[in-house]
């Protein structure tokens, strides 16, 4: 009973906290631009509104049109359950859960692209193609980052992997993972979440035909993914294990907030890159993570 209750509380925390991050990012952007900006809780209102709406279904679409977002959301929710929250630990931990997390993230992406192609719209096919082709490099970088953490700590369990002592590669890893975070969540140098010009959108182009609850689920899943990457980045870089539990919790919260604010500033000060420049940036992220892996492998001396 207690275990089940703890489980529910944990997942409720994740699910409730996630839509806050895009709100904070938008607030930062508005502040830099000197606007008033939407309220921090805007995404909660949007989700509530979308949830009450009807679904418009294309006559061409198969049940996958609705199943895709649903399965993707469940996969993301499963992935966040595996991520430890610093000293609070995790609800579910076993040897090799890092692999499961990576595959759940991949499954979520597959489901979004699958649902995007259901209606046969050319724009959504284009968005899906772009999303997947960026993911080829972004996932390589993520896998390299995970490998470097794994080599550094000699473990494939997320709980022990994400409590490293700050190694020499921490800076490399931070830069690499931050770039991956921006790419995976379709943030500014890669994609503009506010744009509504179909030819240049990536993530937004994939969800053009979704409406009502499926769209709400997709939006919530995206915010969940952002929170997951922010937590992952903070825990991979900060030496949480060395701090007292109380301080570590504070450091985690502060770290996630810092990452979010950084994303906001990046969005305010950078323009999105031209498409042909994007592979270069992603290759840089891969190289940063690979160098972090080499540093972890060969020890601090190299």
């Amino acid at each position: 009973m207690n275990v089940a209750l703890e489980f529910v509380i944990r997942i409720a925390w994740w699910l409730l906290l996630a839509p806050l991050l895009p709100g904070i990012i938008n607030r930062i952007k508005a502040w830099v631009a000197g606007r008033r900006g939407p309220p921090v809780f805007q995404l909660y209102y949007d989700l509530a509104r979308l949830w009450q709406k009807n679904v418009v279904m294309s006559t061409l679409a198969s049940p996958g049109f609705v199943a895709g977002p649903a399965v993707g959301w469940v996969a993301l929710a499963g992935a966040v359950l595996l991520v430890p929250l610093g000293p609070l630990g995790t609800a579910l931990s076993f040897r090799g859960d890092m692999l499961l997390m990576l595959y759940l993230l991949a499954l979520a992406r597959f489901c979004t692209t699958w649902a995007a192609m259901e209606t046969g719209s050319a724009f959504e096919g284009m968005g899906a193609a772009r999303e997947v082709s960026y993911a080829v490099l972004a996932e390589t970088a993520l896998v390299a980052a995970m490998l470097s953490l794994s080599v550094q700590t000699g473990s494939v369990t997320l709980t022990t992997m994400l409590a490293p002592t700050a190694g020499a590669g921490a800076v490399l890893l931070a830069a690499g993972l931050f770039t991956v975070l921006l790419a995976e969540n379709c943030r500014v140098p890669f994609d503009d979440p506010n744009t509504h010009l179909e030819l240049t959108m990536i993530h937004e182009a994939m969800v053009l035909d979704h409406s009502g609850p499926p769209l709400a689920v997709i939006l919530h899943g995206a915010s969940l993914k952002l929170l997951l990457f922010a937590v992952l980045l903070t825990e991979a870089v900060l030496p949480m294990g060395a701090l007292s539990p109380f301080a570590a919790t504070g450091a985690l919260l502060l770290g996630v907030l810092t990452v979010t604010v950084c994303v906001g500033f990046v969005e305010s000060f950078l323009a999105r890159f031209a498409f042909r420049r994007v592979p270069l940036l992603l290759t840089t992220a891969v190289l940063l993570c690979v160098f972090a892996l080499l540093v972890a492998w060969k020890g601090g001396a190299t």
């Binding site: 420049r277 592979p279 270069l280 290759t283 840089t284 190289l287 690979v290 160098f291 080499l294 060969k298 001396a301 190299t302």
Partner: protein, 212 residues
């Protein structure tokens, strides 16, 4: 001490990769001059402070961080060329080549029979990596000014090698190298202007045919 030095050399190696990835002339020049400044700080960390080391450091920083970039920027403005670099070797391939070269340099330096006091430092791999980066830029970029930047990064690598001998190199040699370099870039600045006037372009691909 060695840790600080290694951090700086690591930074210089990172700047190498940044130079390979930058697609505009001003950012390439900025990266190169920043690397020059980073290299200029190094003698201060390696030696007890005395007037000779201080002079080398200040001269290097001023020469590589200020004078040479200013000359290059002036040449760029005078020639009035477009700032986009058009590469023979694309940015992603050259970045990958540079990264492979860096890893190879580290691996090679481990196999070399170095003096015990140099074994733990990144001086030799950093020097090799910078030389390789310079070569890639020299081969892979079409604009004359970008090739000059490649040449200067190559020279930075040679300077890193020279730091191994900092105890035994006379000041005069260091000063002479720096002076040569500055004069060289000065001359190149003038040549670039001439090329621009004669051919209306700085693309070195157009300089391969002899004409009356």
């Amino acid at each position: 001490m060695t840790a600080n030095l290694n951090l700086l050399i690591g930074l210089a190696m990172g700047l190498n990769l940044l130079a390979l990835g930058s697609n505009r002339l001003p950012s390439l020049i900025r990266t190169m001059s920043l690397q020059g400044v980073v290299l200029g700080v190094m003698p201060l960390l390696m030696e007890e402070f005395n007037w000779r080391v201080g002079l080398i450091a200040v001269a290097t920083m001023a020469g590589k961080g200020l004078i040479i970039p200013t000359l290059l920027r002036r040449a760029m403005r005078a020639a009035n060329i477009e700032r986009e670099l058009d590469p023979f070797i694309g940015f992603v391939p050259s970045l990958l080549l540079g990264a492979a070269g860096t890893i190879g340099a580290v691996a090679l330096a481990r196999a070399l029979p170095l003096l015990p006091e140099h074994a733990g430092s990144l001086l030799v791999p950093g020097a090799l990596a910078s030389v390789l980066t310079g070569f890639i830029l020299l081969i892979g970029r079409a604009k004359a000014i970008a090739q000059v930047c490649g040449y200067l990064i190559l020279e930075n690598g040679i300077y890193l090698f020279g730091l191994l001998l900092i105890h035994s190199t006379p000041l005069l040699v260091e000063a002479g190298v720096l002076l040569d370099l500055t004069v060289g870039v000065f001359v190149i600045g003038i040549i670039v202007d001439r090329i621009q006037r004669a051919f209306d372009s700085l693309d070195t691909r157009k300089l391969t045919v002899l004409r009356e």
